[in-house]
């Protein structure tokens, strides 16, 4: 980074993220607003035909704007990681409580076909 840049220049940053859409933009913007040192966060897709978003971040003097974006990304990852773990636990809890009731529709269909064929109904459930 340019050493002569004044602290004021570092308080704002504009990023162009190629290949990104509202999927990342809106969540990142939402998380950025909850950062205590970020004064402004916004994103826009300038034109729907161009697959790119422009992200703006402005911070108070405590940290440079780039750091604000980086921290917001880490927070987003932490949130997501916890969500993934929680879903895994919830699915495991469900399987334990309902004895593998979440099998694929195909197996249910196979079982129905077998029973429909008049074959002896077999309990295949784990």
């Amino acid at each position: 980074m340019d050493q002569d840049e004044s602290a004021a220049d570092q308080r704002a940053i504009v990023l162009a993220l190629d290949g990104e859409t509202h999927t990342l933009g809106n969540t990142l913007r939402d998380v950025m607003w909850s950062h205590p040192h970020i004064e402004l966060a916004s994103y826009t897709q300038e034109h729907p035909s161009v697959n790119e978003i422009i992200l703006r971040c402005q911070t108070n003097a405590a940290i440079p704007a780039e750091q604000g974006v980086v921290e917001a990304l880490h927070i987003t990852k932490a949130i997501l990681s916890h969500m993934g773990d929680t879903m895994a636990e919830a699915a495991k809890r469900w399987e334990e409580q309902h004895g593998g009731g979440g099998d694929g529709g195909q197996r249910r269909q196979q079982r129905q076909q077998r029973q429909g064929d008049g074959a002896a109904a077999m309990n295949e459930d784990s």
């Binding site: 509202h22 913007r29 607003w33 980086v70 927070i75 990681s81 636990e89």
Partner: protein
């Protein structure tokens, strides 16, 4: 309910705030928000002509003047976040997710629909098609047949890549309709169960330039077949035949909807019906009559009281609550609200993925998006607050 909170001691208020804050979005409080702001923070108020407080993005310093710090707090988030699966039957899953913002829920929904891969028929090599279904129509229909195979076992195939056992699945369809000696017709309907998997690869490698170095039988343990056996692909009359070879590749919903792993996935906000003040007597009886089950009446005449029952069980009455809340007579008593950080999330998988694995994969995709952006930025410490 909230009227007495303001007069309470700071300790009690903090306790009440802590209890309330565990219910609402993740924020930290030194002081408590007044009731009206708490409603604005956590609830969408549904009116007859417009909804209020629909945004859920909160700036960290938004209520700084009130002494309230709304910045992100990881511990509070962990405590407030939960997923509770309500229904999980085969390919359909419905769960309640609490404690996360709408933006994240929407991002995961978008990823599940358009950025999670599956395998689908892409190239159809037609040897013979004497049916009345045109080649391109038949091919289009074949592309939309969902396949029960884990796409993570395969690699993407770029246009310039050669088809191989790593990136292509070959299916064959060969059906001829004929009239049996008994007079009955055989094969007059072509179903998805007539698609046969060829683990050894293409049977016409010179035309398709698809040569497998080894069999896929070991790679795909369960075999490859359509999710549903009974999808009608074409109808034939005696003498008509279809003989073709389908090559399936990995893709995402963004490219073509045939690759979308979900029939669809959606969420809605958890509704809430609130009695704005003590509802007694005739008003109570009238409301209970209008909203049977949702409002539970006890007592009668002047002593009649109503209490709000289970909102999820009486879904169909919620829009009626919205309408009644706009009527002059009932407006002071009843209100429909939505809780901004509670979602009733439904994932209907098309069959290739298990719904909860879809959600977990979407989380991974979102995290890799964050990583991609982090690569281009300087490294900083993870938290400065």
């Amino acid at each position: 309910m909230g009227r007495t909170k303001k007069a309470a001691q700071p300790q009690a208020a903090k306790g009440a705030a802590a209890a309330a804050a565990d219910v609402g979005p993740s924020t930290s409080y030194d002081a408590t928000l007044p009731d009206n702001l708490e409603v604005a923070r956590t609830r969408v108020v549904c009116g007859t002509d417009m909804n209020l407080h629909t945004t859920s993005t909160i700036a960290a310093s938004q209520w700084g003047s009130l002494g309230v710090d709304a910045s992100f707090d990881m511990d509070r988030f962990r405590r407030g976040f939960s997923i509770d699966i309500k229904r999980y039957e085969g390919d359909d899953m419905e769960f309640e997710m609490k404690g996360v913002s709408c933006a994240v829920a929407n991002s995961l929904r978008r990823i599940m629909i358009s950025e999670t891969p599956t395998m689908a028929i892409e190239h159809v090599y037609i040897v013979n098609n004497t049916s009345v279904i045109q080649d391109e129509v038949l091919s289009h229909r074949l592309g939309l047949v969902p396949l029960k195979v884990d796409p993570r076992l395969f690699q993407y195939k770029a246009k310039e890549d050669a088809p191989s056992e790593q990136n292509t699945i070959v299916l064959k369809l060969k059906v001829e309709c004929r009239r049996l000696p008994s007079g009955a017709m055989e094969n007059d309907k072509v179903y998805s169960r007539d698609l046969v998997w060829l683990p050894e690869g293409s049977e016409m490698p010179d035309e398709t330039s698809c040569r497998f170095a080894s069999s896929q039988a070991a790679l795909v343990s369960g075999g490859v077949r359509p999710v549903h056996d009974d999808i009608l692909i074409a109808k034939l009359r005696p003498g008509q035949a279809i003989e073709l070879e389908c090559h399936c590749i990995k893709g995402v919903g963004d490219m073509h909807a045939k690759w979308s792993p979900v029939a669809t996935t959606w969420y809605r906000l958890m509704p809430e019906v609130v009695l704005l003040q003590k509802t007694r007597g005739q008003i109570a009886e009238e409301l209970a009559e209008q909203l049977p089950g949702l409002l539970q009446l006890s007592g009668s005449g002047d002593k009649a009281k109503v209490v709000v029952g289970d909102v999820r069980k009486h879904d169909k009455l919620l829009e009626k609550v919205r309408r009644l809340s706009g009527e002059e007579r009932y407006a002071p008593y009843i209100q429909l609200r939505k809780i901004k950080d509670r979602f009733i999330f439904t994932i209907e998988s098309a069959g290739a993925w298990r719904p909860h694995e879809l959600f977990q994969y979407a989380v991974e995709v979102m995290m890799s998006k964050c990583d991609k952006v982090l690569e281009g930025l300087q490294a900083f410490p993870q938290r400065s607050f």
